[in-house]
């Protein structure tokens, strides 16, 4: 299953001009567990999805109370780049959302 299909809310946004943060919210415990146990939502998995070195990933965090995950990474094209195509970072979740949680081809 793709992360896009597993999560209820996938929102990406600037966290300052140079970082993007992606908040993921899951509708039930089963889907939350599936995401939490996936290799995609690890620093290594995120780095692979964005084709960046793992040290560009600031972290992946989980909040059991609200069945949420948070992923933050340094932007490859920040709002400071004249050719930045996404000023608010609102679409930068796309490569992660397309990733597979179950190891199947997406």
């Amino acid at each position: 299953m793709r992360l896009y299909d597993c999560a209820d809310i996938i929102r990406s946004k600037n966290a300052g001009p140079f970082a993007v943060t992606i908040d993921l919210f899951f509708g039930d415990e089963e889907r939350y567990r599936m995401a939490r146990e996936s290799a995609l939502l690890t620093p290594e998995g995120v780095a692979a999805a964005y084709d960046v070195a793992v040290d560009r990933v600031k972290g992946v965090w989980w909040d059991d109370r609200i069945r949420a995950a948070k992923v933050s990474l340094m932007r490859w094209s920040s709002s400071t780049d004249p050719y930045c195509a996404d000023l608010f970072g609102a679409h930068l979740h796309t490569p992660l959302a397309a990733g597979s949680l179950t190891g199947e081809a997406s």
Partner: protein, 478 residues
């Protein structure tokens, strides 16, 4: 903190660069029935990118109009308002908002005394701080910023603002004014000021500020055009919604602590870190009770934002509907890029880095670029944006036109459209956009005194048009 009991402090929060929702009047009335000690809104941010800070232009948000119902209520009830104004938050941005504020006061017959706090730094003061003080280091590691900041970086910057903390706002409120209006400011600091002045612990003031700073976005459903209310005391705070049809929930509040922050529980601020790792949220009568925030003191640093001019932008847009061309859209635009950048007339400017050209194909990979997994146009039409950044407007427009013509008449395999390859939706076909800026300064400036450089200028509004401004006051030594 002393541990002595303190009176609750009630805040009504909203966002003043977003137009208020249609039911704002009744929401404000409801909040004042519960009790309000200050009306607070943020109106600055770096989210809009470096253009506004660099250019000195103002986002067309009409922040004065957005605060009008809130100011009316605050003045009627005799409680202060606290706003940051001007999006980028430089002196020129603040002033353009204050002129609208003048007009609003004039129209309504209001005569508020307002503590105005400018947060732009002069290049001279920043240069002195860089030369004489401790290193001014980047706030964002890995962003390619100068480490540490140099005098050359300061000399190249167009404009620099500091995100002032709660302390200058507290100094303003202590003067018994009707309101405080700042330039660029730490959002949560605006909300922290009155509670801290009244003895609320810093951790609780900061946690509440974090919940209120985006107005109704922390409610369910979230909407930044709505307002939000909280009552703070010595052990925590309770959040309520003044709007019918919106309510805080544990999920909405916890998820809001994630919003626009790179870490879910740790947030560095001037003078300390807000730590929400032990924060608790519980349903209480009519709202959500929040407790358990911690504040870890740290040396006081101001986040600086500075914009440097990078050139001038000109663009051209072409609409492509021809199937044979859509199949080879990328090679077609690559050829036009190449033809432009290698033209003898542009060679020197390209070699010197004074001319850059980029074609972006909407419908293919314009948003994600190299990360786009789909490598072909899948729809029946696409748009090509020719995007040129050069050191002068004339050079940018000339290169954009050159590229436009190559795209319009350039041959490609299987071409049937020999009179013209694409539709031109804009007139003029080359559009001069504006100067282009980058955030060249996004650094932390250590300061011993968070107030000294940001004095409060108590002003009676509406100001006379001819009233002399005194910018030197805002530029006292750091």
């Amino acid at each position: 903190m002393s541990g002595l009991p303190v009176e609750p402090v009630r805040l009504l929060g909203f966002v003043n660069h977003i137009a208020p929702s249609a039911d704002v009047e009744e929401a404000i009335a409801r909040a004042f029935e519960w009790g309000v000690d200050a009306v607070v809104a943020q109106g600055t941010g770096s989210d809009w990118g470096p253009y506004w800070l660099g250019s000195g232009e103002q986002v067309a948000a009409n922040q004065a109009a957005n605060v009008e119902p809130y100011v009316r209520a605050a003045l009627e009830h005799g409680v202060p308002f606290v706003f940051s104004f001007g999006i980028a938050g430089g002196d020129v941005h603040l002033e353009s908002c204050l002129r609208r504020f003048d007009e609003m006061c004039e129209r309504n017959g209001w005569r508020p005394r307002v503590g105005v706090i400018r947060s732009e730094l002069s290049r001279a003061d920043l240069r002195a701080a860089v030369e004489q003080g401790p290193p001014v280091v980047p706030c964002a590691a890995g962003a390619g910023l100068a480490d540490p900041l140099t005098v050359e970086d300061v000399d190249q910057v167009e404009r620099v603002v500091a995100l002032i903390g709660p302390e200058p706002v507290m100094a303003g409120l202590e003067q018994g004014v009707d309101g405080v209006i700042t330039g660029r400011a730490l959002d949560i600091g605006l909300f922290m000021a009155l509670p801290m002045l009244r003895g609320i612990p810093t951790a609780i003031a900061a946690h509440a500020g974090k919940m209120l700073e985006c107005g109704g976005l922390a409610l369910e459903p979230g909407d930044s055009g709505r307002c939000i209310w909280a009552s703070l005391d010595a052990t925590g705070f309770t959040v309520r919604s003044p709007h019918e049809g919106a309510a805080p929930t544990i999920r909405s509040l916890v998820s809001h602590t994630f919003y626009e922050r790179s870490h879910p529980t740790q947030e560095d601020n001037p003078g300390g870190t807000l730590d929400l790792s032990a924060a608790t949220y519980a349903e209480v009568d009519g709202g959500i009770r929040c407790e358990g925030a911690q504040w870890h003191e740290a040396p006081y640093t101001l986040l600086l934002e500075g914009a440097r001019r990078e050139g001038f932008r000109a663009v051209s847009l072409l609409g492509v509907r021809e199937p044979a061309l859509l199949e080879q859209a990328r090679s077609w635009t690559d050829a036009a890029e190449q033809a432009t950048l290698t033209a003898p007339r542009f060679a020197q400017a390209v070699a010197e880095g004074r001319l850059r050209l980029h074609t972006r194909i909407f419908g293919l990979d314009a948003v994600l670029g190299d990360l786009e997994p789909h490598h072909a146009v899948t729809g029946h039409e696409a748009g090509v944006l020719v995007d040129v950044v050069a050191d002068t407007a004339e050079l940018a427009q000339e290169a954009a036109y050159y590229a436009f013509i190559r795209l319009f008449i350039g041959p490609y395999p299987g071409r049937k459209t020999t009179a013209g390859n694409a539709a031109a939706p804009l007139m003029p076909v080359v559009v001069p956009v504006s100067d282009v800026y980058s955030f060249s300064i996004y650094h932390l400036l250590p300061v011993a005194d968070p107030v000294a450089a940001f004095p409060v200028d108590v002003t009676a509004f509406p100001r006379r048009v001819s009233a002399p401004s005194n910018p030197e006051v805002a530029h006292a030594a750091l």
